[in-house]
């Protein structure tokens, strides 16, 4: 794989807190790589270092072969950043916003105008280009936010949870835009805590928790870590933790965790062992209000690897 981004042994601490601890991963040309983890896992710190916003305490970042640091202009030219918060000027029009950032990236006048027109078309704002961004809907602002990141045709586009706080329609639009980027050959580093987004968009996924990369691979590779086990999710009335502990004694159960008023068990051959599972819940003093059995997904992978739910 021809890596556009190579991160090796990244470390960054804030006081006693190790926000990123020995994280290594690569993103290939045209690949969409997802950093999946709950809030506070270290995703934003990691991409802040990759974007050159934050100095590392250790490790190395190479973008298109250039070393990335906060002062590395050459490396920064290869990176487009779409921050989690809207990073646009509401009192400027879409065209003025794009023009400002194009100038910062040193684009010449002729190329700048053409590229701005092209980006406005891509993000679907060509007919509203002269309106102030503050007058746009949330989805339009999000699209402009992404457009600015794409403006200078970066080798690597970093998207930091771009769908947070976005309505479903705009979210779909953003996800479709990211899928299009992949077909255009742009490498994407995508952070999210939405399992569905990672499953839909990412060629490979790095699971990050408490600053450490706990697993990495394609969706299939990650799910296979759980093995051939099924996921049994039971809604219980009573003490879910006690019920989860009781379920661990049932034959074939690999793990059993409480999530709110639910108990989630990973187990072999769930269909034949459900009665025993329900009985175990009953011995804990709780009762079962509903049961769901399905194949595992990334959410289950994260739970399996960390003992925590993605949305904790």
């Amino acid at each position: 794989m021809d890596a556009v981004l190579q991160c090796t042994g990244l470390r960054r601490a804030f006081g006693e807190l190790k926000a990123v601890d020995d994280v290594s991963f690569e993103v290939g040309a045209g690949e969409t790589y997802g950093l999946l983890g709950p809030n506070g896992a270290g995703k934003t710190t990691a991409i802040s270092m990759v974007a050159g916003l934050l100095a590392t305490d250790g490790g190395e970042i190479l973008v298109a072969g250039e070393v990335m640091t906060p002062r590395a202009s050459a490396a920064k030219r290869h990176v487009g950043l779409v921050p989690q918060e809207l990073a646009i000027y509401p009192d400027l029009t879409a065209r003025e916003n794009l023009d400002f950032f194009a100038r910062l990236y040193g684009m010449d006048k002729g190329g700048r105008a053409n590229r701005i027109d092209r980006v406005l078309e891509v993000i679907g704002l060509a007919d509203r280009a002269g309106d102030r961004a503050g007058e746009y809907s949330g989805g339009m602002k999000r699209r402009l936010n992404i457009g600015i990141g794409l403006l200078h045709e970066p080798r690597l586009l970093i998207l930091d949870e771009p769908t947070v706080g976005v309505d479903p329609q705009s979210r779909n639009s953003i996800l479709a835009s990211v899928e299009d980027l992949a077909t255009d050959g742009i490498s994407v580093l995508y952070t999210t805590h939405y399992m569905e987004e990672a499953e839909r968009l990412c060629d490979r996924i790095g699971v990050i928790d408490r600053g450490r990369l706990v697993a990495e691979g394609t969706r299939r590779e990650l799910v296979s870590r759980i093995g051939e086990q099924d996921v049994v999710r039971m809604k219980v009335v009573g003490d879910a933790s006690a019920a989860a502990a009781a379920c661990e004694s049932v034959e074939g159960v690999g793990s059993s965790d409480a999530e709110g008023d639910e108990v989630v068990c990973l187990m072999d051959a769930a269909a034949g062992r459900l009665p025993a599972l329900l009985a175990a819940v009953g011995t804990s003093g709780a009762s079962v209000a509903g049961v769901q059995v399905r194949e595992p997904d990334l959410e289950d992978v994260f739970l399996h690897l960390t003992g925590n739910a993605l949305r904790d």
Binding site: L53, A87, I88, P90, F100, L104
Partner: protein, 457 residues
């Protein structure tokens, strides 16, 4: 880096042009306040008084006063003088506040001087208008002194209007008067008329009436028991009186010492308001930086291949340009509309540039203690207000302790610099104040920038 900084400056300028608050702080409010204040204080920095003269003598010495001294005062624009037929009419005019003081030349005044007996020039004053009384007394003293230098003697007697003539002690004009005809004149009564009490804009004008204490005392001595001068030719007497009247201005505003050089009221207010609001105007540079962070655009700026320094430079240039334009517009507008006289362009330009740098430095340091634009705005407002008050932007601090206090403020140095230019129009006379302003700017900007950069990391 410079190109990127200019790009940021252009963007900020565009945003500021669309942000009406900056117009209000930078231009509208200071100009409006200057206009309002100038209406309130118009004319209070120029001292003029009204007086009366009663010539009961009609002799050559009296004419030296009425035809020489009094017209000179009128021509100088210092006084409006009305002639009265008798002392009663003059007293009534004072009591009715038509005039502030009156000179009464008694009958036989010229003859008494001719005879070497010493004459008595009475000054009637309104105790409620002490400044006018002081000046009127000074004028009389000055005339008496010059007669005395010619070997004659005149005593000046002060009396409050409504009191018995000759019983002028404690008349309220600032000194006890000599008592009685031929007695010693109060030597100090007119020597130090402090015009500052009435100067609305705080001008501490030293109205020097030309009185000389020793000479005045000598006049009294001569009148009491000095050598008898014998009869003089009336023509010589008239010539002496004329010379006394023409010897020079009897009243003048001193060339003030450098520390006390003052601007006229309107200019002081215009300059004070301009520099006061300058400290609010440049905060847009610092709060603009925090706004970038707050609205999420700072990461995007820092991710661009331009460096943190370009961002700082762009913000500083924007604030500098805005401050400069604001000061320039206010100077030109106040000069054009309100007749403010800031001084020679070169010197004023030096001061304005230095003041903008000082404002940038101070506000950058203050802003570096804030995490949000709102916090910064609050902190900066407090500091701008305190420094403005200390610097005397609303009222002059004088030359005493408050005057020294003003020098801990950039505002005070700016106004002092303009005052220096008023005293000496050479642009170099603004350099001491400009230097102090630059020191303010550098001493505060360096730690401010360092703190900001650390905050970015």
């Amino acid at each position: 880096m410079f190109a990127a900084a200019l790009t940021i400056l252009r963007k900020d300028a565009k945003l500021r042009l669309r942000d009406r608050s900056v117009w209000v702080f930078a231009f509208v409010v200071p100009l409006a306040l200057t206009y309002v204040f100038s209406l309130v204080f118009t004319g209070q920095d120029e001292f003029r008084f009204t007086a009366g003269v009663v010539d009961l003598d009609g002799g050559p010495v009296a004419e030296g006063f009425t035809d020489g001294v009094v017209p000179a005062l009128v021509e100088e624009g210092l006084a409006e003088v009305t002639a009265f037929g008798d002392e009663v009419a003059a007293r009534r005019a004072i009591e009715e506040e038509e005039i502030g003081a009156a000179w009464v030349i008694p009958e036989g005044f010229s003859e008494q001087i001719d005879a070497g007996e010493g004459g008595e020039l009475t000054v009637l004053v309104n105790p409620d208008r002490s400044l006018t009384g002081q000046v009127a007394l000074g004028v009389a003293d000055g005339f008496a002194t010059r007669i005395d230098r010619a070997g004659l003697a005149v005593a000046v007697v002060i009396a409050a209007a409504g009191e018995v003539d000759g019983d002028g002690a404690g008349a309220g004009a600032g000194g006890g008067a000599g008592a009685g005809a031929g007695g010693e004149a109060d030597a100090d009564a007119g020597a130090d008329a402090d015009a500052g009490a009435g100067a609305g804009a705080g001008d501490e004008a030293d109205a020097d009436a030309g009185a000389d204490a020793d000479a005045a005392a000598g006049a009294g001595a001569g009148a009491d028991g000095g050598e008898h001068l014998g009869d003089l030719d009336p023509a010589i007497l008239a010539e002496v009186a004329q010379r006394a009247a023409e010897a020079g201005p009897l009243i003048s505003v001193d060339e003030l010492a450098a520390a006390d050089r003052q601007l006229d009221g309107t200019t002081y207010l215009a300059a004070g308001m301009a520099v006061f609001f300058l400290f609010f105007t440049v905060t847009f540079g610092v709060t603009g930086y925090l706004e970038e962070r707050q609205q999420g655009t700072l990461p995007r700026l820092l991710a661009a291949p331009i460096g943190i320094s370009a961002v700082h430079l762009g913000k500083a240039l924007g604030a500098f340009a805005l401050g400069l334009v604001s000061m320039t517009v206010l100077a030109v507008a106040s000069a054009t509309v309100l007749d403010a006289t800031w001084g020679p362009v070169g010197g004023v330009a030096v001061l304005v540039v230095a003041a903008v740098i000082a404002a940038l430095g101070v506000m950058a340091l203050v802003g570096s203690f804030a995490n949000t634009a709102e916090q910064a705005g609050n902190l900066q407002s407090v500091v701008a207000l305190v420094l403005g008050l200390a610097g005397g932007v609303f009222f002059p601090m004088g030359a005493g302790l408050l005057g020294q206090l003003a020098l801990v403020s950039p505002h005070g140095w700016f106004l002092r610099g303009l005052g220096d230019l008023a005293g000496d129009p050479a642009w170099t006379s603004a350099l001491p104040a400009a230097g102090a302003l630059l020191v303010f700017g550098l001493v505060t900007a360096v730690p401010g920038l360092l703190r900001m950069q650390r905050g970015v990391r």
